[in-house]
């Protein structure tokens, strides 16, 4: 690699990187704005409905989607931005969390959001709280739906990320041993 050749490459590279930076920022903005627009629906229910049940359902759904939006904002970036400047151990540790099945940080945010959506759904569908059959039907269908999503996600994770996750785990063990 001669110095000149490398200088030309460097110039091209900088231009490419700068455009990539702005492209990513644009994409991120669009997705985030889309989620925010979607949140307007439950907010609408909360503001315009007279029925207290619907208003509570609206506010719960707003909080739930707000949590999803927060999760997206906080963690979607982490998948694309690996902190290459950190020590290898830290990078491996972060990667272990990132590539694990349903990582802990995701659990803390998405599980409350799922529960809130469930309560909000119940409030909107069930008019008569003595109708146990309907409540059970809503609950069972919701649990089946969530269970199925988790199962599909698990199969996808097993096929796509489990080997990587296992080798990261092995490397971390290797780093810890003398």
């Amino acid at each position: 690699m001669t110095r000149n050749e490398e200088n030309i490459n460097l110039n091209e590279l900088i231009i490419k990187l700068q455009s990539k930076d702005s492209k990513w920022k644009k994409l991120f903005k669009i997705t985030f704005v889309s989620i925010c627009i979607y949140i307007l629906f439950p907010i609408g229910i909360f503001v315009f409905e007279d029925d207290l049940r619907f208003r509570i359902a609206g506010i719960l759904a707003t909080i739930a989607f707000g949590l999803f939006a927060y999760y997206f904002r906080k963690y979607s970036k982490a998948y694309d931005n690996i902190n290459y400047h950190e020590s290898l151990k830290k990078v491996l540790y972060d990667a272990k969390i990132r590539y694990s099945y349903f990582p802990k940080p995701a659990r803390y945010i998405t599980i409350p959001a799922i529960i809130l959506v469930n309560i909000s759904e119940l409030l909107m569908i069930v008019y008569d709280w003595s109708n146990i059959k309907l409540i059970l039907m809503v609950q069972i269908s919701y649990i089946v739906l969530i269970g199925l999503s988790l199962f599909i996600a698990w199969i996808w994770w097993t096929r796509s990320y489990k080997p990587l996750w296992l080798s990261i785990k092995q490397l971390l063990d290797e780093l810890d041993e003398q």
Partner: protein, 170 residues
């Protein structure tokens, strides 16, 4: 030219030999070395905003280079092969080679290269840093383990290589 671009150019200019040094061990052909060099530059660019100066710049560069060599962006961690160059004077950091026996030296190089490639991923990374004459303190900072742990690992790897080479010689 904005500040990020200016800093990037300066870092690349001042640390070119460090980056190419690492690339040399992980890529055999000039084309592959160039690809890896470029990949490291991309990751330097991505990380440049987070350089606060709390680590030495050389440590920071080695961290980016080593993490890039691991290839996290792929679905598997790269099982990198290490390539040694016979002209590499730093090989003395690893084993003692008698400069007078040119023929033996060549054979020994190939055997050493072969043995290094049988080491684990972490050991290979440590060895490339030892070959680059990076001190134990800096290796500890790059890898994220303690300095005594690095010392123990380097000692063990050197012994392993020595034993393996002696066995082959028998």
């Amino acid at each position: 030219m904005n500040k990020k671009e200016e800093t990037f150019r300066k870092i690349v200019r001042d640390n070119e030999y460090r980056i190419t040094g690492i690339c040399r061990y992980y890529s055999l052909t000039e084309e592959d070395q160039k690809d890896m060099y470029q990949e490291i530059l991309i990751n330097i660019w991505k990380s440049i905003d987070s350089f606060r100066g709390d680590a030495q710049l050389s440590t920071w560069i080695y961290r980016v280079a080593v993490n890039t060599a691991m290839g996290f962006s792929n679905k598997e961690i790269r099982r990198q092969k290490i390539f040694l160059e016979q002209t590499d004077g730093n090989i003395q950091n690893l084993i003692d080679i008698d400069e007078n026996c040119a023929k033996e030296k060549e054979k020994l190089f190939r055997r050493l290269e072969n043995q290094i490639n049988q080491l684990s991923v972490i050991d290979k990374i440590i060895i490339t840093l030892v070959l680059e004459s990076v001190n134990h303190k800096e290796i500890a900072s790059v890898i994220g383990i303690t300095e005594p742990n690095v010392r123990v690992k380097v000692h063990r790897i050197k012994n392993e290589l020595k034993e393996a080479l002696e066995l082959v010689n028998i």
